[in-house]
C-alpha cells in the first residue's frame, strides 16, 4: 500500500514553527485550546448543575458569591451553563463541519475529476442547494425533521456542503488536467486510485484550510438556529439558546445575553484567527498580505555606486563590478557577482547563459527591476549615458523606464494587459512620457505598429492581445518599447516563446530597428544561434559571473573558456546530425555555495589544481576579448597571437 499511503508526510518540517511565528494565530490557538479544555473538563470541574433551577436566585449579577457569572431568569448558574453549552456548540459545529467537508469534498472531487456530464449534474444540484437562502433552507430541513440539536446539525451540514463542493471541485479541476494524473494513468492506476492516491493528497490542504475557516461560521449558524428555538431544546444549554433566553431579560439583566454573546465572539474569533494561521502555513500563496508588491525599485546598498566613476563617454551603458544579491533567510545568493558590461550606440550585446546564471538578474538590475525583498544591489556602478543610475532619484528612474530605456520580456501575452486594446496600451505608454493629446498619440501608435511591420496598423490598434498571434504580440511589445525613442532596449529572451519562423521575423525586425534608429540592444538569450544572428558582441555568464566576452564571431568560432566551448558543443546543429552531442556532465553550482576558484572547475575536463584555488580574474586575451580562465583554450590563444 505504500504507493497510496502516507500521502501527507511531505509537510514542511517547520510547519509548527511557521504557525507559532504568526502571533495572531497563536493567540487564537491559545484561546481556543483554553476553551476546548474547559469544555472537555466541564464534567470534572466543581460546577453547579447547569439545569438546576432556583427561582429564588434568579438574575443574580456576575461576580457574586457562588455564581461567578451570575444566574439567568430561572436562577441557573451561567458559568456552568456556558461551559456545558460550549461543549454542545463545539461538538455540533465540528461534527457539522466534518460531515459537510466529507460530502462536499466527495462531490467536488468526483465532479472535478470526472468532468463532462457528471460534473454538470453534480454541480447543478449544488447550485440548487445554493439558490435557497441558507437560513431558509436550514429552517426547511428542521421543519421537516423536527426541532432538535441533531437535526439542526444535519441542516447546517447540508447547507454547507455546496461551499466545500465548489471549492474542492475548482482545485480538483486544475489538478485533474495536470500531467502527473496522465502519468499515473499510464502507470496503470485505476481512476479510484488516482482520485484517492494522486489527487486527494494535493487537495487535502485545501480541505483542511476550508474546514478551519468554516468551523467558526458553522458554530454561528448553530447558535442562530438555537437562538430561534430550532436547535437545542430546553433545558439543554447551548450558546445560541442561552443568547435567546437572555434576549427576554435584555434590559433588566443584560449579562444573561452578553456573557454567551461574548463567549460566541471569543470562540469564533479564536477559531478564525487560528484558521487563517493554518491556511497561511498550508497554502502560503493565499496568505493575506503575501501578495503585497515588492518595492518600486531594487534596494541599493549604500556602499554601491562609489566604486569609481566610469569614464567612457561613447558608451550608452556602462556597468562596472555590479553585484546583485538575494537574501533568503540566512542564505545570501550571489546572483550577479562583479559583472562589467559596456554597450555602445547601435550595438547589440548578447548575454548568454543557462538558467540561474544571472543573466536576467543582470538585465533587471540596470533599471532597478529586481524585486526587493529579497533582492538588493550590493555593489558596483551603472552608468547610462554618463548618468549614475544607482544614485538617480526614483522619479528619474521612472522617467527613464519605458522612456530612454525599455524592456521586452519573454512572454508577450503576460506583458500585455488582456482587457485593453493594443492601441490603448501603446497610447498609454506614449502619454506616460510625452505631453501630447490622445489623438496625436494614437497617430503615433499607428506609425509605431507600421514600423514594426504589422499589416493594417490602423485596424490593429483596436485589437485585443488575444486576437493577435504570438509573433504579432511580440511586435506590439517591441513597438511599445520603442514608443518613446528608446536609446537602450533590454530584451530578455524575446524570442524564446516564439515559433522558429516567427522568431526569424522578430530577429530581423530588431536587427533592422537597430540599424535605422541606432538603438542599443542588450539581448539576453541561451541560444547561440540567435546570438550569431543579431549580436555584435557577447558575454557568457556562468554562476553569476561573466566567464568570457568578445565579439560574437570570435566567441562562437574560437571560444576561449572551456564552458563556452562545451556549451556550444552540446547544442545540436542542423546538418550535423551524426555528431554525438558532447554533454556537460554534472550541474551548475548553486550561487549560495560556490566552490573556491573557478565555478566551472568541477565540470571542466581541463581543470588543474590551480583552478580550485583563489579568485580567478577575467584575463584580457585581446582587444575586447577576455576569459575568466587560467588555461584558455589554445585555439583562442592562436587568435590572440595572430
Amino acid at each position: 500500500m505504500s504507493a497510496v499511503a502516507n500521502p501527507r508526510s511531505s509537510g514542511r518540517p517547520d510547519a509548527v514553527r511557521l504557525m507559532l511565528n504568526n502571533r495572531l494565530a497563536t493567540g487564537g490557538l491559545v484561546i481556543l485550546v483554553v476553551m476546548v479544555l474547559l469544555a472537555l473538563l466541564a464534567p470534572l470541574l466543581p460546577l453547579a448543575d447547569p439545569n438546576a433551577t432556583a427561582p429564588a436566585n434568579r438574575l443574580i449579577r456576575p461576580l457574586s458569591e457562588g455564581h461567578l457569572l451570575g444566574t439567568d431568569a430561572l436562577g441557573r448558574d451561567i458559568l456552568s451553563r456556558i461551559l456545558w453549552g460550549l461543549r454542545v456548540s463545539l461538538a455540533v459545529g465540528i461534527s457539522a463541519t466534518l460531515i459537510a467537508a466529507f460530502f462536499g469534498s466527495l462531490i467536488g472531487l468526483v465532479a472535478g475529476y470526472a468532468g463532462g456530464r457528471t460534473d454538470n449534474l453534480l454541480m447543478r444540484g449544488v447550485d440548487m442547494l445554493m439558490a435557497f437562502p441558507y437560513i431558509l433552507l436550514a429552517l426547511a430541513i428542521v421543519a421537516v425533521l423536527g426541532p432538535g440539536l441533531i437535526n439542526a446539525l444535519y441542516a447546517i451540514a447540508v447547507v454547507n456542503i455546496p461551499f466545500f463542493a465548489r471549492n474542492i471541485r475548482g482545485v480538483t479541476l486544475g489538478l485533474a488536467r495536470r500531467e502527473f494524473v496522465d502519468a499515473a494513468r499510464l502507470s496503470g492506476k485505476s481512476h479510484l486510485r488516482i482520485l484517492t492516491g494522486e489527487i486527494l493528497p494535493n487537495v487535502a490542504p485545501v480541505i483542511v484550510v476550508t474546514m478551519s475557516t468554516t468551523v467558526g461560521w458553522m458554530i454561528l449558524e448553530t447558535a442562530g438556529l438555537s437562538f430561534l428555538g430550532l436547535g437545542a431544546q430546553p433545558p439543554q444549554a447551548d450558546l445560541g439558546s442561552m443568547l435567546g433566553d437572555g434576549r427576554r431579560v435584555l434590559f433588566n439583566a443584560p449579562h444573561v445575553a452578553i456573557v454567551p454573546g461574548l463567549v460566541i465572539f471569543l470562540l469564533v474569533m479564536s477559531i478564525n484567527l487560528f484558521g487563517d494561521g493554518v491556511r497561511d502555513v498550508l497554502d502560503p500563496r493565499l496568505k493575506s498580505g503575501a501578495l503585497a508588491r515588492p518595492m518600486g525599485r531594487t534596494a541599493i546598498d549604500p556602499r554601491a555606486g562609489d566604486a569609481m566613476p566610469a569614464p567612457a563617454t561613447e558608451a550608452v551603458l556602462d556597468v562596472v563590478a555590479l553585484k546583485t544579491q538575494f537574501q533568503l533567510g540566512r542564505k545570501t545568493l550571489r546572483a550577479v557577482d562583479d559583472v562589467d558590461l559596456r554597450l555602445r550606440e547601435g550595438e547589440c550585446l548578447g548575454i548568454v547563459g543557462e538558467s540561474g546564471s544571472g543573466k536576467s538578474v543582470t538585465a533587471m538590475s540596470i533599471m532597478g527591476l529586481v524585486p526587493t525583498p529579497p533582492g538588493r544591489i550590493a555593489g558596483g556602478t551603472i552608468d547610462f549615458r554618463g548618468e549614475d543610475l544607482l544614485g538617480a532619484s526614483d522619479a528619474r528612474i521612472r522617467q527613464l523606464r519605458g522612456g530612454a530605456v525599455s524592456h521586452v520580456f519573454q512572454d508577450p501575452l503576460s506583458t500585455l494587459h488582456p482587457l485593453f486594446t493594443v492601441g490603448d496600451q501603446i497610447v498609454e505608454a506614449i502619454r506616460a512620457h510625452q505631453s501630447i493629446g490622445h489623438r496625436e498619440a494614437r497617430t503615433k501608435a499607428r506609425d509605431l505598429l507600421a514600423m514594426v511591420r504589422i499589416p493594417n496598423a490602423a485596424q490593429r490598434l483596436d485589437a485585443y492581445p488575444h486576437e493577435l498571434s504570438g509573433g504579432m504580440r511580440q511586435r506590439v511589445v517591441i513597438a511599445m518599447a520603442l514608443a518613446n525613442d528608446a536609446e537602450l532596449l533590454i530584451a530578455d529572451e524575446p524570442t524564446t516563446a516564439l515559433d522558429v519562423t516567427v522568431q526569424a521575423q522578430v530577429l530581423s525586425l530588431m536587427n533592422g530597428l537597430r540599424r535605422e534608429k541606432k538603438t542599443s540592444i542588450l539581448f539576453i538569450t541561451h541560444d547561440f544561434g540567435v546570438v550569431s544572428a543579431i549580436c555584435d558582441r557577447v558575454a557568457v555568464m556562468y554562476a553569476g559571473r561573466i566567464v568570457e566576452t568578445g565579439t560574437a564571431r570570435q566567441v562562437l568560432e574560437k571560444p576561449a573558456h572551456p564552458y563556452t566551448r562545451k556549451l556550444i558543443d552540446c547544442v545540436p546543429v542542423l546538418g550535423q546530425s551524426d555528431r554525438r552531442l558532447d554533454a556537460i556532465e554534472g550541474l551548475p553550482p548553486s550561487v549560495d555555495d560556490l566552490p573556491e576558484g573557478c565555478a566551472f572547475a568541477p565540470r571542466c575536463p581541463f581543470a588543474q589544481p590551480e583552478c580550485r584555488k583563489g579568485e580567478i580574474p577575467l584575463f584580457a586575451l585581446a582587444d575586447e576579448r577576455a576569459a575568466r580562465c587560467l588555461f584558455p583554450l589554445s585555439a583562442a590563444r592562436e587568435v590572440v597571437d595572430a
Binding site: S2, A3, P7, S10, R178, E179, F180, D182, A183, A184, R185, L186, S187, G188, K189, R193, E198, P201, N202, E354, S355, R453, P455, G470, G471, M472, V500, T501, Q503, A504, Q505, L507, S508, L509, N511, H526, D527, F528, G529, V530, S532, A533, L556, E557, K566, L567, C570, V571, P572, V573, L574, G575, Q576, S577, R579, R580, L581, A583, I584, L587
Partner: protein
C-alpha cells in the same frame, strides 16, 4: 513503407476534432480540427521525429498514440490490433507496451509522492511485481538513468529539471514497453542538460531495443535523434521521409521555411515572409493547402485543392503534400526564399 518488416504501429487516417457537438437548441457547433487525416507507420527500432510549430497538432497526435485521447476518426493499430479495442477492454494492456514521457518534467511528477512510490506504481499496477522484485527493478531503473539510488526517498521538488526528466524516463521504462512517445522531452531543459538527456535516450534505446516517437519543435534536436521525420502543419502531415533526405532536400515549402528560419552561426537571418501569414481558422479549415497563404509558390491549384501526401513525393519513402515542391539539391541554390 515497402519493407517486409511489419510496422510496430500503423496510424491510418487519424482525425481528432475537439468539440463540435450539437447545440442545445438545434444547430451544430463547429469543432476544432486538431489532427486531420494523418497516416504513418512506425517501424520497430526506429526513432520517428515529429516536428511542427505550436498548434500544429503534434501533441494531440502523441496523446492518441498512447491512448490518453481517442481519435474521432481513423484507426491506430499496434502490432496489427486496433488500440481502441485494447483500450476498451484494458487500458493497462496498452500502457504495458506504449509509454509516454512528458514535456514538463516537474509537473508530470506528483509533488506529494516520493520518487520510489512514483516509480513503483507501474511495476505494481502494470507488471504486478512483488515487493522484492520491485526493489530489484527499481535499482536497475535508477542505474539505467544514471541516478543515485538514495534519490528514491526524495520528493520531486528536490530535483533539477534534468534529474526530474530522468525520473520521468525511468517511469516510462519501468513497465518495459516497446514504444515510448516522447513529447518535447528536452524543451524545458537547459541546453547543457538537454544534451545529457538526448544522449541518455540514445543509450537506453540501444540497450533495451526501444522504438521512439520523438516530438519536438526544435528542428536541430529532431534531426540529431531521428531516423525518419514527419513534419506537421495545421493538423496534417506536410512531409514525411528519412531524416537525412528530408533535412537535406525538403520537398515541402513549409519544411524549407522552417529550416531557413533556424538561426545558426554564419547564416544571415532569413525572415521568409514580408507579412505574417496567420494560421488558417481551425474551426473552418481551408479547402486547399493550409500553407498556401504563407507560401511563395502557391497558385490557384494550391488554394482550391488539397495536395495528397504523395503530391510531391520523391519516392515511396519520402512523401510531401506539396504541388510545387522545392527543387532537389544541385538545382536549388537559394530557392524557396523571397
Amino acid at each position: 513503407m515497402h519493407s517486409t518488416v511489419e510496422p510496430l504501429m500503423r496510424v491510418e487516417g487519424v482525425e481528432r476534432i475537439f468539440g463540435g457537438r450539437r447545440k442545445l437548441f438545434g444547430g451544430h457547433r463547429a469543432g476544432v480540427h486538431a489532427v486531420q487525416d494523418v497516416s504513418l507507420d512506425i517501424m520497430p527500432g526506429e526513432t520517428l521525429g515529429i516536428v511542427g510549430e505550436s498548434g500544429c497538432g503534434k501533441s494531440t497526435l502523441a496523446r492518441m498514440l498512447v491512448g490518453l485521447d481517442q481519435p474521432t476518426g481513423g484507426s491506430i493499430r499496434f502490432k496489427g490490433r486496433d488500440i481502441a479495442d485494447t483500450l476498451r477492454n484494458d487500458f493497462n494492456g496498452l500502457a504495458r507496451n506504449i509509454q509516454y514521457v512528458f514535456q514538463d518534467p516537474v509537473s508530470s511528477l506528483n509533488p506529494r509522492k516520493t520518487i520510489r512510490s512514483i516509480l513503483e506504481a507501474p511495476l505494481k499496477h502494470l507488471l504486478g511485481l512483488g515487493r522484492k522484485e520491485r526493489a530489484e527493478r527499481l535499482g536497475t531503473l535508477m542505474d539505467a538513468v544514471n541516478l543515485r539510488p538514495e534519490f528514491l526517498e526524495r520528493y520531486p521538488h528536490e530535483f533539477s529539471g534534468g534529474q526530474a526528466q530522468r525520473i520521468g524516463i525511468a517511469r516510462a521504462l519501468a513497465a518495459d514497453p516497446e514504444l515510448i512517445v516522447l513529447d518535447e522531452p528536452v524543451s524545458a531543459l537547459d541546453v547543457s542538460v538537454q544534451a545529457q538527456v538526448i544522449n541518455l535516450l540514445a543509450d537506453l534505446k540501444a540497450r533495451f531495443g526501444l522504438t521512439y516517437v520523438f516530438i519536438s519543435h526544435d528542428l536541430s534536436v529532431v534531426e540529431s535523434v531521428s531516423d525518419r521525420v514527419a513534419v506537421m502543419y495545421f493538423g496534417r502531415l506536410a512531409e514525411l521521409g528519412p531524416a537525412r533526405a528530408l533535412f537535406a532536400d525538403p520537398r515541402h515549402r513549409y519544411t524549407r521555411l522552417l529550416l531557413d528560419s533556424v538561426p545558426a552561426p554564419g547564416k544571415p537571418i532569413v525572415a521568409c515572409e514580408g507579412s505574417e501569414g496567420d494560421l488558417p481558422d481551425p474551426y473552418d479549415p481551408p479547402a486547399g493547402c493550409a500553407f498556401a497563404p504563407r507560401c511563395p509558390a502557391a497558385d490557384d491549384l494550391c488554394r482550391s485543392q488539397r495536395p495528397a501526401l504523395d503530391a510531391g513525393a520523391v519516392d515511396g519513402a519520402h512523401l510531401a503534400a506539396c504541388f510545387h515542391p522545392p527543387l532537389l539539391t544541385g538545382e536549388t541554390a537559394g530557392d524557396g526564399q523571397l
